[in-house]
Symmetry: C2
C-alpha cells in the first residue's frame, strides 16, 4: 500500500492498476445492496434488452475508485470527500478494467488533491470517467 504525504504528491502524478470483474463480485455486490434489478441480476432479461450479457452495476465499477484512493493514490492517509462519476459504456462480467488516476490539482489550505479518474476495458474503451476530491490526513504522531 502506498503512503504518500501531501507534500510528496505533485500535479501530474499518476497511478494505475488492473482488475478483472468476476461473477463473484456481482454476487457480493448484490448481497451488499439488495439491488435485484434484472439488468444486472438476470442474464435472460439483459439479453432481451439488447445486451450481450448482464450488465455490471455501475456503482460496482465505481467502487474501484475506493481502491485507487485508499491503496494507490495517496494510499494509507486517503480521506475521500467528493466523487463525480460518468458512466460512458457498459461493463460486463469477465471484462478486465484498467483504473487510472492522475492528480490535476492541489489545495494547500485543506491538504486536498483532485484526482482525475479514467477506467478502460479490454478494448481500450473508456467505460468510466470521474474525479475525486481527496483529503490527505496528516501522519499520527505515534510513540510520541
Amino acid at each position: 500500500m502506498n503512503n504518500y504525504s501531501y507534500d510528496e504528491i505533485s500535479i501530474g502524478h499518476k497511478e494505475k492498476f488492473e482488475i478483472k470483474i468476476t461473477e463473484q463480485m456481482m454476487e457480493s455486490f448484490l448481497s451488499i445492496t439488495s439491488d435485484t434489478n434484472p439488468l444486472h441480476a438476470d442474464e435472460v432479461y439483459a439479453k432481451t434488452e439488447g445486451y450481450g450479457n448482464r450488465v455490471v452495476y455501475g456503482m460496482l465499477t465505481a467502487s474501484f475508485m475506493s481502491t485507487l484512493a485508499g491503496v494507490y493514490l495517496p494510499g494509507e492517509r486517503s480521506l475521500i470527500k467528493e466523487v463525480k462519476i460518468k458512466f460512458a459504456k457498459p461493463v460486463f462480467p469477465g471484462d478486465t478494467l484498467t483504473v487510472e488516476g492522475e492528480v490535476t490539482d492541489k489545495n494547500d489550505t485543506f491538504n486536498m488533491i483532485v484526482l482525475k479518474v479514467v477506467m478502460r476495458n479490454d478494448k481500450n474503451e473508456k467505460v468510466l470517467r470521474g474525479s475525486m476530491d481527496i483529503m490527505i490526513r496528516e501522519e499520527t504522531q505515534q510513540g510520541a
Copy 2:
C-alpha cells in the same frame, strides 16, 4: 421492485428505504475491491486515528444509490448515467441509514431524471449528499 415509466414520474416524487450497515457488508466490499486501507480494515488503527470504530468505505455507503435507482426510483428501467457524491460525516458498522431520493428535474429529450439523494444515520445526521442523472429505458415490446 418499482417500475415507473418516464411519464409516471413527476418532479417532487420521493422514495426512501432503510439499510443497516453490517460487518458482513464490510467484508464483502473488501473482497470486491481489495481496498485494504486500515481506516476501514483495522479497528485498532482507526481508533488511533481518532475514530470510535473502523470507518465504513465511502463507496460502500454510496453503493446504496444503486439500490435507490435500480429498485425504488425509477426501479426496473433505471440506467444511471452520472453520479455526484459528497461525504458529510463518517459512517460506522452497525449504523442504520435512511436513503432518500427526490426527483428535482426531468429532461424529456433524453428520458432523463435528476434524483437528489440524501442519506442520514440513526442520529438523523446527513452522512451523504448526492445526485444522479438517470435515464429511464423504454419498455421492451415483448410478445409483439
